[in-house]
């Protein structure tokens, strides 16, 4: 299995605050990883570094061959076209309908209109939202919005998806549907990294568990 993320001796944090000290970890192609830890432990901080919103203070972080300590804006945009992101608050574009929101990564990738249309209908049907394709995010429930956000992350078959508390705002039923979608994405060969407070009680596919506590990163076997 090839490594898509390599982090060594990392110091991660914000302007004046170090959240992770001397942390090392790696992500392999096809991994399914749960990133757990108490509130404020640094789960979101790690994810922000993984999708390039923050740069490491110290250490080595390589994602898909890009050194994240020195990555330029244009290279970061290039890298993000191969990464999917999912957030607790969905981050759907509110002035766009569901169909167009899902289509966003394909528009960015420059995929032709016909293929875009096919892919969007295919995935919206899979999550039983095809009949709501022309609705706007505010017209959908939280669970429906999150399913839309997950298929938006999947649609261009990225190398990996980083999800920050994707089920945090959802009821059990909606959370289960969202987790099923992540399993589906993983079956397609996409690595999944989910930051969450707790591991799901039932989860069928094998996964890795990385825990953060006291500014340290632990791999739980």
């Amino acid at each position: 299995m090839s490594k898509i993320v390599i982090g060594k001796d990392l110091y991660l944090g914000y302007k004046d605050e170090i959240i992770i000290e001397n942390g090392s970890f790696s992500i392999n192609s096809g991994d399914f990883i749960f990133l757990t830890g108490p509130s404020g432990s640094g789960k979101t901080t790690i994810l922000k570094h993984l999708y390039g919103e923050l740069k490491p203070k110290k250490g080595y972080l390589n994602i898909g061959g890009f050194d994240m300590t020195k990555i330029s804006h244009s290279n970061l945009m290039q890298l993000r076209r191969h990464i999917g992101v999912v957030f607790q608050d969905y981050k759907l574009i509110k002035e766009w309908n569901i169909e167009r929101n899902v289509r966003l990564p394909l528009i960015i990738a420059g995929v032709d209109e016909e293929t875009q249309q096919k892919e969007v209908i295919n995935l919206l049907s899979k999550v039983k939202l095809a009949h709501k394709a022309d609705k706007y995010p505010y017209e959908l429930s939280g669970g429906e919005q999150q399913r839309t956000a997950v298929i938006r992350a999947i649609i261009n078959r990225p190398v990996c998806i980083f999800a920050d508390e994707p089920t945090g705002n959802l009821d059990d039923y909606s959370a289960k549907l969202v987790m099923d979608l992540f399993s589906f994405a993983n079956e397609l060969g996409i690595s999944i990294i989910i930051a969450t407070h707790h591991l799901p009680q039932t989860f069928d596919i094998p996964y890795r568990h990385i825990h953060i506590e006291g500014k340290k990163i632990y791999e739980v076997s």
């Binding site: 992101v85 528009i107 960015i108």
Partner: protein
Amino acid sequence: MKYLKSHILLIFALVSILFSIESYWVINKIVDKYETKIVKNYTILVVSKTKIDKININEISKIEQINIDKNLQNLKKFNNLDLDSIKKSLPYFYKLYFKKFPTPNELKQIETKLLANPNIKRVESFRIKQHQIYNLLSIIKIIITIFMSVVLFISTLLIIKQLEVWKLEHSERMYIMELFGAPFGLKSAILLKIAFTDAFISIALMAGIIEYIFNSSVYLHLINQLQINIEISFFRDMLILSSISFSIAIVSTIIVILSRKKEI
């Protein structure tokens, strides 16, 4: 209504800027044209004991001797006059032409400089009716310059306010697009479209205003009264104003996008 609300501020600012620039150009053109017209006919008279070939005063463009022979011929009817000796005893008369129309102060200074020459006996300058019109136009020119500066300042403030509104309205969408690696062009496309629409509407409004003003009876009457022939190139002016309008639209969009980038 929402559409109007999101466009009106920038359109108003752009039209104000374009209108003040156009007014500044036109007033300057009228004043310059009028100045050129009156400076051609305006001279001062110099009486000198000796012949003058050259005068070292910057403002003077030309010196021309007045031929007094004609006037002397009129005296021929008095038989007992010796015209030759009269001519010899008379001083030399000159007309001085100007490079630009002098202000009363400049005129005074020129007179002083001329009279400093011991050979020059007298300098006669004439207040003409055009002097008052020229002064009035000069005052209008100053007022228009001040008006333009004030309008530019207020319009800049309005544009800054609009940029703040745009930042709030568009930053979330641009952030989400950036999360998926959207290139600059795609990220800014919606904002650019809005800015370009506003710029286009402003230019169309401006074209209407220019057409209306320059064909209005008040404007035509004024130009007629001043007896000047002023050429306003509608297409040239519109081309320049369009460039200004679209440049402001592009710069505004870039500022919003770059200021969002800094926030990350």
